[in-house]
Point group: C2
Chain length 400, copies 2
């Protein structure tokens, strides 16, 4: 947590995704849409050790295409580690020497948690579009149920980037007495018309794929072409224009190709996007893409002053809002919008914008300033709310 | 030209698209790719009257989805007038009381000029992807041939927005002695990796549509779903985030719909985009979309300092570069990039950025400052290069 210089080599090591079944048909999970779900499976991973009084829990919330595997590797020969491995582990901001970190696949997901590709107990077949509409609030509710199952009533902090930041914010609103800190990164209190527009085109690309068949495709070909187009387009919004220029510019994939090669003559950025699209469809479900983007579109906890005041009245955690200067999916002004709302209602909120070339994806990537701020916020929470090992932490802080 | 207050009501009235066949199999049109085309049909419209010495010609260049119909109406009950009607007509910047304005459908188009949907004389069937790869240079070359056919050797100005601006710039480079002025609006000297990425995803959406069939779809269903997705995505880039927020915000299409209505509960911006997509496919050819976007991707007249110097050395027209502050498809920095190159090579170039809410589409919309600048540039050209009626014009200028 405090040793920045060498922290990047520290990993949580080999980890396993666990799975638990919560709720059942007799006692199902209530959803915001009025329907209910049960049983509900949840995939999750944990890193670090729960302390005796259960005061060192950090809950991580993943973004649209994430999953429970936030850190470490499942097998020694995995090429990639978990999606937030840069920030989770001994000596990293989510310091597993001090914290017990929990990461679960979101409700509606396709990586171990119940979603549209799961079996509908009523039909014995995959839900498809019979899956109920879900909200960011439902996602937080399922995480709360998972923690209850694990015997955890309160968390030290909830943190997430992008849609994960929305879920973290939802925690502060829905369970105000159950968290001390809330970290909202590269996120927004609501999608703009442009954000919704991009999501709408992505959904359209999926739904016009002839293999989509109204979402009932699990027993035949999946709508991978439409999903790949959706992902390619979304991927453009995850990267800054600057990052694309530095990484690809106008470089050709095959420098010997000529204009006469026609549509086979690709710019490197085209090949890259096609690769992103085709690899995404091997691990993601098109219906999940529809449900999750719709949940993002509909997230709007502060639609009017009255609701805002009512929702924020009980909120008493410390909030940290972070943004990146080249993020154009959820740019800094969206974070400032959230900070303004929180400040107007006298909440304890910090805000920092970081410089990065990497656009929206910056929240996943290494950056000393961002790392330092995350660490500092977490160290202060630890010092103030976790009592036992605070001495070692304090020493670390004074060294910084 | 000089009467700003009442100019908006002045129309060129009823117009007709004309069509001419240029080149033939024995004397085909050479293309940059090394292949050739002949015969080549060109659709065009003219507004105003050619003066005696042929010195009052203005050539307009349309953007990706434009056509020859730039002004007026084809039928009295047409709901819409031509795409640049705001700026063409008596008393408007492209003042048909003074100028003879020519607008033609671009090579590769689908509205009367030879393109991939035209009949390939070798096969007797539509070209499809057998159509040769074309460039912005080829588009300018066909316009030059059209003018030659009309007996016009020199033009007073070439003007265009977006891709039309690229064609206008190409004119200044390829026919430096044949134009006095060049107006490049909301355009760029080259596409960035992000621009190319958006075009690549649009092409992918078209090509994965099962009706695409390698471009050979003219005798069956067209790949309208893919083309609609491509258009929906591109349309987002034509509008500023601000314009989308003002026009749609988070308004629902059906305010009575609830979250439980699922994917049928649309935000207004979704319905709007779907409408844009579905109306576009009734008038545009998917193969043309592929060819034209590829030509844009490959446009790069200044790839290195040596080529730049060589290309610009003979350029001696006056150039006017214009941009709009909320345009994020080709933002102001792209125009400045062009201006910098031109200035470094001692070209006569003016530059102006206009304030607008409307993003890239602003070049088509009414705006007093933009209109004034267009007018002023054209008035000066008229005064300096068109001799007969200059007295009336000069009076107009002094009134401004």
């Amino acid at each position: 947590m405090n040793n920045m210089e060498t922290s990047s080599s520290h990993s949580v090591g080999l980890v396993e995704t666990q799975q638990v079944t919560l709720f059942d048909e007799g006692d199902p999970m209530p959803l915001d849409c009025g329907r209910s779900l049960g049983p509900v499976q949840v995939a999750f991973e944990t890193y670090g050790t729960l302390n005796e009084n259960g005061s060192n829990v950090i809950l991580l919330c993943h973004a649209l295409s994430g999953n429970a595997h936030a850190a470490g590797r499942h097998h020694p020969d995995d090429k990639k580690s978990g999606w937030w491995d840069n920030y989770i582990g001994p000596g990293k901001p989510f310091d597993t020497d001090y914290f017990f970190v929990i990461s679960s696949n979101n409700l509606g997901g396709c990586d171990g948690t119940t979603g549209p590709s799961s079996i509908n107990p009523e039909s014995g077949r995959p839900f498809g579009l019979d899956f109920p509409m879900i909200t960011i609030g439902d996602m937080a509710r399922l995480q709360k149920a998972l923690l209850a199952h694990l015997g955890i009533q309160k968390v030290l902090a909830v943190a997430g980037g992008s849609m994960g930041g929305m879920i973290a914010l939802q925690w502060a609103l829905d369970y105000p007495d159950d968290l001390a800190g809330c970290i909202v990164i590269a996120s927004t209190p609501r999608l703009t018309a442009q954000n919704i527009a991009f999501n709408a085109v992505a959904r359209q690309a999926i739904m016009v794929d002839p293999h989509f068949k109204g979402g009932d495709y699990y027993e035949s070909n999946h709508p991978i072409n439409g999903l790949a187009v959706a992902r390619m387009m979304a991927h453009i919004t995850y990267l800054s224009e600057q990052a694309l220029d530095i990484k690809f510019g106008r470089r050709m994939q095959n420098p010997d190709a000529t204009q006469a090669d026609g549509f086979d003559q690709d710019f490197a950025v085209e090949s890259y996007l096609r690769y992103q699209g085709s690899s995404f469809v091997t691990k993601f479900d098109a219906n999940t893409y529809l449900y999750i983007t719709k949940a993002m579109d509909q997230f709007d906890p502060f639609p009017d002053p009255e609701t805002t005041a009512k929702r924020l009245e009980p909120v008493n955690c410390r909030l940290m809002v972070m943004s990146f200067d080249t993020d154009w999916r959820f740019d800094t002004s969206r974070s400032k919008e959230l900070v303004k709302i929180l400040n107007m209602h006298n909440k304890t909120v910090s805000f920092e914008e970081f410089t990065s070339q990497h656009g929206h994806d910056a929240f996943l990537l290494k950056s000393p300033d961002y790392q330092q701020s995350l660490s500092s916020f977490l160290v202060r929470l630890y010092q103030d709310f976790v009592h036992g090992p605070a001495q070692a932490m304090a020493q670390g802080v004074s060294d910084q």
